[in-house]
């Protein structure tokens, strides 16, 4: 179980009073001196637990030893062998559940701030305006389509481009990056970091087509007809969940994805300089307690709300958000209403939100899965608010999956894949949130890595057996 104390506090952060009023980055990163000092604490374990905790198994002791020895770029090179987006993962990985949570030092005292060190190495490179030169294999002439430009798609694109493939990314929105651009706010992940990564991809020869809703603008079959040998589907789990309670469609009830998209992608906080508006409110209730909820709450506050409540049906111990975000939200004055389950959103005569009514919950004894389920206590309460933001999770978006006939799905419409990212359709691979359900940036990247490997194998086998290719591209239809 995650323990909130296992997250590092060595990093400098901006003053909560000031930062809660703007969208500039909250955490400032480590100085070189701090980074070296932190790296010196690492025990360089023979059997490093931290590595087991990292979903892509970065050789953590090796990169930390380079930082310790003042060789920051070498450290970064090590990280990049495993992880394409260190500046991003260093910022957004739930480290307390992963690398840092597993660090042996955490058993007695503070674990190594692995995420902060990772971020430091990447930011250092950006600051001195270096870019790593990588060897790119000779073009092999094989076209591969990458659908969706979130972390999963970006990883597949980079790995295959380096192997000499001709890669085109197709992105539905007008900007590439997936959740990294439309979901996670600027104050947590500055957009220029993503732009830098996209530029890097382009330097590898990757083409990006935006405004390209695959399944609509072109179907996967049409892509195959254009000569793509394989397609990777990394379309994320971008469809908002809702509770189906009365009042959910009142004016000023937002789904978090809309609220965050307006601000992050459309820059509504700068309305009317930008054309897209977003409603600013006085008192806001955000339902849910994951990263999305924290992001929405802190965004609402930065838009000028006086009071912002996180309304969550369990307690602080079960909150799925990164520990760091919870702490930052608290410091910024976000209030928490635990054990509260919304049952109705109350509107005024014009159809605008005026309050949210919740059941007070109690936690029952742990069930078979060990999770303590919340149950109604019989009491209820009402919170007067003028805006409600629903942030209770995302689910699969059917546009693409429905457009591929016979594609095997599981659960709420997620794509079924094997351990190598293969779907049941030849030539179609998948990974990231659309295969697992909403997860994390690093797990989407890990899935991308595995899929890239198996796409390479697949295309190489095709190339060797031209007859078979004909057959399987037929079945791909």
């Amino acid at each position: 179980m995650p323990c909130p104390t296992t997250y590092n506090k060595t990093m400098r952060v901006r003053d909560p009073k000031k930062r809660a009023k703007d969208f500039k980055e909250v955490a400032l990163g480590l100085t070189a001196k701090q980074a070296i000092k932190e790296a010196q604490r690492c025990l360089q374990c023979k059997k490093p637990k931290c590595v087991e905790g990292c979903p892509v198994e970065i050789d953590i002791p090796r990169f930390i030893s380079s930082i310790r020895d003042n060789n920051f770029l070498a450290g970064l090179k090590t990280i990049r062998e495993y992880n394409l987006l260190p500046a991003i993962c260093g910022r957004v990985c739930p480290q307390e559940n992963q690398c840092q949570g597993a660090c042996i030092l955490g058993r007695k005292k503070t674990p190594i701030s692995i995420g902060a060190l990772e971020r430091f190495a990447a930011d250092y490179e950006a600051a001195i305006n270096e870019t790593e030169t990588v060897e790119i294999a000779k073009p092999n002439g094989h076209k591969v389509a990458v659908i969706g430009s979130g972390p999963a798609g970006l990883t597949v694109a980079a790995d295959l481009a380096k192997l000499g493939y001709d890669i085109t990314i197709f992105e539905a929105l007008h900007e590439p990056g997936g959740v990294l651009v439309y979901g996670i706010p600027e104050f947590r992940l500055p957009k220029k970091i993503i732009q830098r990564e996209i530029e890097y991809l382009k330097s590898l020869g990757v083409k990006i087509k935006v405004n390209w809703v695959v399944g609509k603008t072109q179907t996967v079959d049409q892509l195959f007809e254009e000569g793509y040998k394989a397609a990777f589907v990394g379309v994320g789990a971008g469809s908002p969940r809702y509770m189906n309670i009365p009042g959910e469609n009142l004016n000023n009830v937002y789904f978090a994805s809309e609220f965050l998209t307006r601000v992050n992608l459309m820059k509504a906080e700068q309305f009317p300089k930008y054309d897209t508006p977003v409603k600013r409110a006085e008192k806001v209730a955000v339902v849910g307690a994951g990263n999305v909820a924290m992001d929405a709450a802190r965004t609402a506050q930065r838009l000028g709300a006086k009071e912002v409540y996180i309304v969550y049906r369990r307690t602080e111990h079960e909150m799925p958000s990164r520990a760091e975000e919870v702490e930052h939200a608290e410091e910024e004055g976000i209030k928490f209403e635990f054990l509260s389950n919304p049952k109705e959103i109350i509107g005024d005569e014009k159809g605008y939100v005026k309050a949210i009514k919740c059941d007070k919950m109690v936690l029952c004894e742990p069930d078979a899965s060990g999770r303590r389920r919340p149950d109604c206590s019989g009491e209820e309460f009402t919170l007067d608010v003028d805006q409600v933001i629903m942030a209770i999770g995302q689910t699969s978006n059917p546009i693409l999956t429905k457009s591929i006939k016979g594609l095997k799905l599981w659960g709420a419409g997620y794509i079924e894949i094997d351990e190598n990212g293969k779907t049941n359709k030849p030539g179609i691979f998948a990974g990231g949130d659309i295969a697992t359900g909403a997860a994390t940036v690093i797990s989407a990247m890990g899935a991308g890595k595995r899929a890239a490997r198996s796409i390479n194998e697949y295309v190489m086998t095709l190339a060797k057996a031209p007859r078979q290719r004909k057959k399987s591209s037929k079945t791909a239809k």
């Binding site: 971008g238 809702y242 009142l250 309305f271 159809g351």
Partner: protein, 280 residues
């Protein structure tokens, strides 16, 4: 970038553009729409694909200049470009052989019925089209409709063309006098609601094309949610057409008015900045 090949004023405050968008044109079906963004600071707005030409790789959009974005779009000329156009989005209108169909259009909504008319004719349906507007010059594309429809009924509030009165009156007479199988209405919410109320007692299956505020148009944000038979649906991926008799029109009207202050503010600022003449 998507190039405007042709631009025309088709009625007071209504322009049509033909846009170069070969992939969208290839897959466009009746009832589909696009979401476009004029430039880097622009808003994403949905517009119905009013016509498309696969050979030429073009789509036609018809828009009423009612706010900042559509005003600004109205100032673009042939040769100018639109930064982003994504589509074709939404469910296509279900096309099959119904028998006798009626299409009811109000104001600018009419033009977006055009591809549906063509599609229904391809399936060898008998189609009566009822178009209504305040006055004759607002009856967009009536000649094109005339070419394809079995019957074209015009109504105007002021009697300047066709029958004086509302589309609903003409519709009621038609229902009484013929054996209609399906009605499809596009236009202002009030008009679609009125059509729905007319057809309901007759049990005539009626589709309406809803126009909630949208953001990205791909099912990711939930801005476009509408209430259909008490259930939340996303108009951009589950619509925009729904069974009229199940739509909560009042909720839709409320939600459409949500950004009125901001819309006015944007328009005022736009007009002031360039005195109504600048492009960006």
């Amino acid at each position: 970038m998507y190039k405007i090949l042709h631009k025309q004023n088709v009625a007071p405050q209504v322009d049509a553009v033909i846009v170069d968008a070969p992939y969208i044109a290839t897959n466009a079906q009746a009832g589909n729409f696009v979401v476009l963004r004029l430039h880097d600071r622009g808003e994403r707005i949905p517009l119905t694909i009013a016509d498309s030409d696969r050979q030429k790789g073009t789509i036609t959009l018809l828009f009423q200049k009612i706010g900042k974005t559509t005003e600004e779009m109205g100032r673009l000329k042939a040769g100018d470009t639109i930064k982003d156009v994504a589509g074709p989005l939404g469910h296509p209108t279900p096309m099959k052989r119904y028998g006798h169909c009626v299409l009811v259009g109000g104001g600018i909504g009419s033009a977006t019925l055009f591809p549906i008319l063509k599609g229904l004719k391809e399936k060898r349906n008998k189609v009566t089209v009822i178009l209504g507007a305040r006055t004759e010059e607002l009856l967009v594309w009536k000649d094109r409709f005339k070419e394809y429809a079995n019957d074209l009924v015009l109504t105007t509030d002021d009697g300047s063309a066709g029958r004086k009165g509302l589309v609903t009156e003409a519709l009621k007479d038609l229902i009484e006098s013929s054996n209609l199988k399906i009605a499809l209405a596009v236009g202002p919410i009030r008009m679609m609601q009125a059509v729905s109320e007319v057809t309901k007692p007759y049990g005539l299956k009626t589709l309406v094309s809803l126009n909630p505020v949208m953001v990205e148009g791909t099912g990711m944000c939930g801005a476009c949610r509408v209430n259909i038979a008490g259930k939340t649906k996303f108009a951009c991926i589950e619509g925009p057409e729904f069974d009229a008799h199940e739509v909560d029109f009042q909720e839709l009207a409320n939600r459409l008015g949500f950004y009125r202050d901001e819309e006015e503010q944007a328009m005022k600022k736009y007009k002031k900045r360039c005195n109504g003449r600048c492009k960006k």
